[in-house]
């Protein structure tokens, strides 16, 4: 059996201090292998974003174990966590978080720049990845000149340009219309076909279920159920049609 790309074992996370201290995660466990696109679904306040932050090494677990690329994060210093993030994890955010003063190409190149890759090769690589997400012709455009879908594709390019093994996406289709949401998920699903890469998508959006290999349900800080190959359950309905049935 191959080693998980990213995993959480019995993770507990307290947030806040004093009277406002809450237990956001109450022993959550989750493991993602390469070649998978998993959805993390649950109601608001269920702990989705906290789990994503812990898996993404932005928060450390109060207890339990988190491993990224085989390396435990407990006790890691902020600098070590930053290195884990830049070496292993790519992020896609609901509101894209592109740099408005940089072109699409520079936004993608930034992920390599923070890793110290500043050669001509970095530019070539950034252009290749932009082409992969279908934006070769928009490399010099600034975020304000791109549609929401295009901005999210640039964000995806930024997430994968450094060959991250885990792509963590927070509501990547949340701000997009059906067509652009479909395009973005198609790209993420394509990325997840790489056996060395796992994609975890936090979502409320049922339209994207057909793209998933797994659906993990979280509620009240615990993983309560998991569904494998949900697309089989709805195989008669094509993703594009799902998109069009959105109310």
């Amino acid at each position: 059996m191959t080693e998980p790309v990213i995993e959480a074992i019995d993770v507990v996370k307290f947030l806040g201090k004093g009277a406002s201290r809450v237990e956001a995660l109450k022993g959550a466990s989750l493991s993602l292998a390469g070649g998978q696109l998993a959805l993390l679904m649950g109601p608001s306040g269920s702990g989705k974003t906290t789990l994503l932050s812990v898996l993404g090494c932005m928060l450390t677990a109060t207890s339990g174990t988190v491993r990224v690329g085989g390396r435990a994060t407990s006790g890691a210093r902020p600098g070590d966590l930053a290195k884990l993030r830049r070496d292993h994890i790519g992020f896609v955010f609901q509101s894209y978080h592109l740099f408005p003063t940089l072109s699409a190409l520079d936004n993608v190149r930034l992920a390599l720049d923070v890793c110290g890759e500043r050669s001509e090769r970095a530019i070539v690589r950034a252009k290749e990845v932009l082409a992969t997400v279908g934006l070769a012709h928009k490399q010099h455009a600034f975020p304000r000149e791109l549609s929401g879908g295009e901005q999210q594709r640039v964000a995806i390019a930024r997430a994968i340009v450094g060959d991250a093994t885990a792509i963590l996406a927070d509501e990547p289709t949340g701000a997009l219309d059906s067509e652009n949401g479909h395009t973005v998920m198609t790209i993420l699903a394509q990325i997840a076909k790489n056996p060395a890469r796992a994609v975890l998508v936090v979502t409320h959006d049922p339209r994207i279920i057909p793209f998933a290999d797994r659906i993990i349900h979280i509620e009240d800080g615990r993983i309560i159920s998991e569904e494998r190959n949900p697309a089989d359950r709805i195989q008669s309905i094509r993703p594009a049609k799902l998109a069009s049935t959105r109310g």
Binding site: S53, L59, A82, R85, R86, H97, T101, R158
Partner: protein, 377 residues
């Protein structure tokens, strides 16, 4: 262009109004520091200008003399004693002091008399633009600087007036011999200076000692100290240092100039700090994103410090240009502002230091950002 520099410059220039405010702040601050330090340098030079132009190997001064303008007097017979010391070839008397100059159009204004005989290797005017040293031998002859024509009510060579009720005639005109006290210098012969000052003929202010070629200055100095009483024997450097120390620090003038310079630097630092802090606050999401994608602290520090350095370079370039204009405009005034290559380099270093120090608050702010805020915004 490196991506860090590109990000820094675009962050900086994105809000142009704020950037203009930053640059104005830096320019204001550095121009203020330039003026204060330029005045300090000018003051420092002018305080010792007479000592530096006197062709003396040693100065014999009255005990406790604080500066060149000190009114303490020596006995003239000290000169005869000095000349007996081995190695002394000349001991030229100089008389200095303040006296009232009658302005031809009415009223009086104080002048600073410098008297030394033309035939001796004494303290004489320089930079003649009209007349010459020999002209001072004529009766009532004095030399003044053209900078002070208006103050003294003089329009041309040959004009006459009075000092302490005694006739003077402008026989020579110099250019650029200015006093830091703004009191005009009036050069004349020794006996005439004594008369204008009301000093008796047996009193002088200084003896300019000339040492024989090859003689050991320290030995001559020791000989003078042993021979003369109630005097001090100083090298020109020592006398210059003493004068500078008295005028710049003994009177508080130097401290006031430094305080002005410090105030300028503090104002500049606060303005740049405020701007960088505000700019960083506007870009918090971007810095949080940088942290989220794993950039090191050093990378983020560089973005902010590059913003500070860009502000410094642009602000300094403008401030230095304005400073240069001020230097040119004041060059012919009674109190010129001096700019030296060392001062320019120092000001650039100060600007950089000021701007980098200003970035500390912004860096602290960014280091407090929770990278997980990217999921919430």
């Amino acid at each position: 262009m490196s991506l860090i520099l590109k990000l820094a410059s675009r962050n900086l220039f994105q809000d142009r109004l704020r950037f203009v405010g930053t640059v104005i702040g830096i320019v204001f601050s550095i121009v203020l520091v330039t003026i204060q330090l330029g005045l300090f340098l000018s003051f420092e030079r002018m305080v010792t200008t007479m000592i530096e132009h006197a062709p003396a190997d040693l100065w014999v001064v009255a005990l406790g003399t604080k500066c060149f303008e000190d009114p303490s007097l020596l006995d003239e017979h000290d000169r005869d004693q000095a000349l007996k010391v081995k190695g002394v070839t000349q001991a030229v008397p100089v008389v200095i002091g303040f006296s009232p100059w009658t302005v031809p159009s009415g009223g009086t204004t104080p002048v600073f008399i410098v008297g030394s005989d033309a035939g001796d290797a004494g303290l004489h005017p320089w930079n003649f633009v009209d007349g010459n040293l020999a002209a001072l031998s004529a009766a009532h002859a004095v030399a003044i600087d053209r900078t002070y024509f208006e103050r003294l009510g003089i329009t041309k060579l040959g004009d006459s007036t009075e000092i302490r009720g005694q006739k003077v005639q402008v026989a020579a005109v110099t250019d650029g011999i200015r006093s830091f006290t703004t009191t005009p210098y009036v050069f004349t012969t020794l006996d005439r200076a004594q008369a204008y000052l009301g000093t008796t003929a047996d009193k002088v202010s200084y003896l300019l000692v000339h040492v024989a070629p090859g003689a050991d200055i320290d030995s001559v100095r020791a000989g003078l100290v042993a021979t003369l009483s109630k005097v001090e024997v100083l090298t020109p450097d020592e006398f210059s240092r003493r004068s500078r120390s008295f005028w710049l620090f003994g009177t508080g003038a130097g401290a006031a100039l430094f305080a002005g310079a410090l105030l300028g630097a503090v104002v500049g630092t606060v303005i740049v700090a405020q701007t960088l802090y505000s700019s960083t606050k506007d870009h918090l999401n971007e810095f949080a994103t940088l942290r989220a994608i794993g950039s090191s602290n050093g990378y983020i520090h560089k973005v902010i410090i590059y913003q500070a350095l860009l502000s410094a370079v642009i602000g300094f370039s403008l401030a230095a240009s304005i400073g240069l204009i001020i230097v040119m405009l004041t060059a012919k005034t009674a109190l010129p502002i001096v700019m030296t290559p060392e001062l320019t380099l120092g000001l650039f270093a100060l600007t950089v230091l000021m701007c980098v120090a200003s970035s500390i608050s912004a860096i602290v702010q960014v280091m407090r950002i929770d990278p997980a805020r990217v999921f919430k915004t």
